[in-house]
């Protein structure tokens, strides 16, 4: 039913209109602009709606699919129906790719197949024009223009549409060719943008948002939950939601009713998804055989998920998490979306992995910082740091709070504020700022602080500031002071005791001096009766006994106080023994005992020894021997054995039972308590002797047979005096 242009009378206006329309078509980049330009004429001819569709063809040129890409509606017609759609693919119109097809009355047109007629009448399209867009030897698309009433095509209309459909076909062919080129570029641009957005994300929410923006672009119906979930280090079988958003709006995790953690194997498919290396697309949960009815489908139904995309995020061989996007209704995912999501998955995985590492590092850092802060905050110390201008940049520690300072208040203030109140403290910091590390005691407001001060030195060896750690040692210091006071007191007490001993010694000896002296003079005067003389002798002897007792008590007191000092001087042994023989000879004679003394020739003339101590040892041992011997003899021997001076005092007295031989050296002990009464004496003599021996690095022992006698042996180190030195 083609009409040749020559057959109609073409008006100037129509011709101009065709030229303009071709110009618009040539300039139009987009399908909806092309369709709108065409339909500005169709509108004049009473058309109600139109649609431009792309046709997909296979390698043999057969049409495989039809897809609407632009539609138009006549706004002046109150048509509430949905936008126009393409007619079914039918040989009725596909068999004539180079000719317009006119349907003037759908109800009566005998060319129509049933399917086409049904499609037309159901949509209330009673007339239509089909413009085949066939160019460069293949189908590009098709335009359907619909009328709601029967429409008789005018010659002009036929001419106009005939004149433009081939240029439109050419334009669409160009457009599609351009689009397929542009599409590749577009995708790579999107992928680049996505990667950039992911790279800049600073939180899980931002990572999710970057991907969700893309998904939303492809489907405005994007709905319900989107989340990234991670396996936890401490429980790899647990998945945790870390970010959620719904249609571009972030949803706080606390608002997730079912909690944010659930087991990895909550439903079977989940495990399959999570072990997959590639994105997982599920367009219809309830139809797809991969989601099995027993486990996955009920789980999905419960969360109102009918379709979802899961991007398993793997970095290396580690599963980091997944992005999941879900829809409440079944979906057909555009291939473009699939391609882009697949393309960005490795980047997303890497970003998420980095993010997790960072989080982990931050968490660990936070933990150690928290620990440090806890320790520092609770430590009973003051921890201060100041820069080289003396301004505090660090201030922590319970010690400061105990002192009544909020550590935060010190930050930014200067140590020089304390110049007036604590000049000492300022001085310590100045020393530290000068490079010195030291320990010092500082008193601040009545409290005593022990502080360690140190400079802060940077990598270049420059002093940047100073730090100090201080302890409040006021209480300890008080204890120390108290202890010092006690020690002083004890020393004083000890000194009093020494003074008391000295005074007692002096005060007891003074009257004894008079008694012994005057009694002696009376006896020497030889003018008293025999009986009186005996009384005076007894008085004299008792005075002597009292003197010995006093001497011994004073000695033992000194020894027990640890105040026995050995002061060696040069002495001549023979003189000492001779003097002893003289003094003790009188006592021996009184008991008719023989007292013999002997000094070994191997012994040097002069030795270095404490004379008082030696005298006391000799006197005590010999006096004891005489005291406990009733008949026989007492002998004193001074011998040399190697580098030792041996003193042997032997008697033929009562002897000492073996079991008593140790205790006789203890203070106030005698072998037999009755001996005290029989023989007198305090029982201190041997204790004194033993103490002196020990003090002189020597020793004493006793060998005794009861009834036969005793031998006391003293061994003392021998210090020989050089003759030249002696001179």
């Amino acid at each position: 039913m083609a009409t040749s242009p020559q057959e109609i009378k073409l008006s100037i206006e129509t011709a101009e209109r065709i030229v303009r329309l071709n110009s618009v078509i040539a300039q139009s980049a987009r399908e909806n602009e092309i369709l709108a330009a065409l339909c500005s004429y169709a509108e004049e001819y009473g058309a109600a709606s139109a649609v431009l569709s792309y046709l997909e063809i296979d390698s043999r040129g057969s049409i495989t699919d039809i897809k609407d890409v632009a539609s138009w509606k006549n706004k002046s017609q109150p048509d509430t129906e949905a936008a126009a759609e393409h007619l079914p693919i039918s040989s009725f119109w596909t068999s004539t790719p180079t000719q317009l097809v006119f349907i003037q009355d759908a109800a009566t047109d005998t060319r129509l197949d049933d399917e086409t007629r049904k499609a037309l009448t159901q949509a209330n399209h009673n007339a239509a024009i089909i413009l085949p867009l066939y160019s460069v030897g293949q189908w590009q698309g098709v335009i359907f223009i619909y009328w709601t009433e029967k429409h008789l095509l005018s010659a002009e209309e036929e001419y106009v549409f005939s004149a433009v459909f081939q240029p439109i076909a050419a334009a669409v062919a160009n457009r599609r060719a351009y689009m397929s080129l542009e599409h590749a570029q577009y995708k790579s641009e999107i992928i680049a943008q996505m990667n950039a957005a992911l790279g800049q994300a600073t939180s899980e929410q931002e990572i999710l948002d970057a991907v969700a923006v893309l998904v939303e672009r492809y489907d405005a119906e994007l709905s319900t939950l989107n989340y990234v979930h991670y396996g936890l280090e401490e429980a790899p079988e647990i998945i945790e939601m870390v970010a959620v958003q719904n249609k571009g709006t972030p949803i706080p995790l606390s608002a997730m009713g079912g909690g944010t953690r659930f087991p990895k194997n909550a439903f079977t498919l989940n495990e399959i998804i999570l072990s997959s290396d590639t994105p997982f697309f599920m367009e219809d949960v309830f139809a797809d055989p991969r989601s099995e009815p027993g486990s996955t489908r009920p789980a999905m139904k419960a969360t109102n998920v009918a379709a979802f995309v899961a991007l398993p995020l793997r970095s290396g061989d580690r599963w980091q998490g997944t992005f999941t996007f879900s829809w409440p209704t079944p979906q057909v995912f555009p291939s473009e979306l699939k391609e882009i999501l697949t393309a960005i998955t490795p980047t997303a995985a890497a970003v998420v992995a980095n993010r997790r590492l960072l989080n982990q590092a931050k968490r660990q850092h936070q933990i150690s910082e928290d620990r440090l802060r806890t320790v520092v905050n609770n430590a009973p110390i003051g921890l201060l740091g100041l820069d080289k201008t003396g301004t505090f940049f660090f201030s922590e520690g319970k010690g400061l709070r105990d002192f009544g300072i909020d550590p935060q208040d010190l930050l930014g203030t200067s140590i020089y504020n304390a110049s007036e109140t604590s000049p000492e403290l300022v001085q310590q910091y100045e020393r530290a700022l000068a490079g010195e590390s030291f320990e010092a005691l500082v008193e601040v407001a009545g409290r005593i602080y022990q502080g360690w001060y140190s400079p802060v030195i940077n990598d270049h060896g420059e002093i940047e500031g100073a730090i100090s750690v201080s302890f409040d040692i006021t209480d300890r210091r008080r204890v120390e002071l108290e202890r010092e006071r006690l020690i002083r007191q004890l020393r004083e007490a000890s000194r009093f005791k020494d003074e008391f001993l000295a005074t007692m010694s002096h005060e007891l000896r003074t009257p004894l001096n008079a008694m012994i002296g005057l009694l002696g003079i009376v006896l020497m005067n030889n003018r008293v009766e025999d009986q009186d003389k005996m009384f005076i002798q007894r008085a004299r002897a008792n005075s002597e006994r009292l003197l010995t007792l006093i001497n011994n008590i004073l000695d033992i007191s000194r020894m027990e106080a640890g105040r026995l000092e050995i002061t060696p001087s040069t002495i001549t042994l023979r003189n000492v023994v001779e003097k002893l023989q003289q003094d003790m000879g009188i006592l021996a004679e009184q008991k008719r005992l023989q007292l013999t003394t002997e000094v070994d020739d191997a012994l040097p003339e002069a030795i270095l020894i404490d004379e008082d101590a030696l005298n006391k040892i000799l006197t005590n041992l010999v006096a004891n021997a005489i005291k406990f011997t009733e008949k026989g003899s007492v002998s004193l021997q001074l011998l040399r054995k190697d580098e030792s001076l041996i003193i042997k005092v032997r008697d033929t007295g009562i002897g000492i039972p073996i079991h008593m031989q140790d205790i006789i050296f203890e203070s106030f002990r005698q072998a037999d308590a009755s001996a005290t009464r029989m023989h007198g004496g305090s029982g201190l003599g041997l204790a004194i002797v033993q103490n002196l021996c020990i003090a002189m690095q020597g020793s004493i022992r006793v060998d005794s047979t009861p009834g036969e006698g005793s031998t006391f042996t003293v061994t003392l180190p021998l210090h020989i005096v050089d003759v030249l030195e002696q001179g």
């Binding site: 001993l501 000295a502 010694s505 002096h506 005060e507 007891l508 000896r509 003074t510 009257p511 004894l512 001096n513 008079a514 008694m515 012994i516 002296g517 005057l518 009694l519 002696g520 003079i521 006896l523 020497m524 005075s543 003197l547 001497n551 004073l554 000194r558 000092e565 002061t567 001087s569 003189n575 001779e578 003097k579 003289q582 003094d583 008082d612």
Partner: protein
Amino acid sequence: MMQTFEISPQLLRGWKVLVVDDEPDSLLVAQTLLERCGADVSVGTNGQEGYEMAQKLRPHFIISDLSMPVMSGWQLIYHLKDNLSTRDIPVIALTAHAMRGDRQRAMEVGFHNYLVKPLQPETFINDLLRLLIDIPDIAEKLG
């Protein structure tokens, strides 16, 4: 062999001896024992008196207590040694201070020697002279 001196009224005849002690009984004992040997004994009851008498009498030797009121034996020896006219007079300390170390200290500050109270009346003169015999003048005078 230790030298022993025969006690007789001739032993110290012509000797001027000064005894300084605040205890009258102690003075009495020492004075009596010395006078029995023929010495010309003067007594002072404290360091001050002792120092004045020492300058006046220029005794052959002095026996002095250490603990005394007004002026102690320690101060007395300081003054005696500080004075040209008295510095060569030997002074024997005779004291009831029997604490260890006193002897050493006494010798260090200038006492010639040291005897501890109570003195033994029978041996006192010998003990005393044995401590003095190392002084040539005295040894010579004793013969």
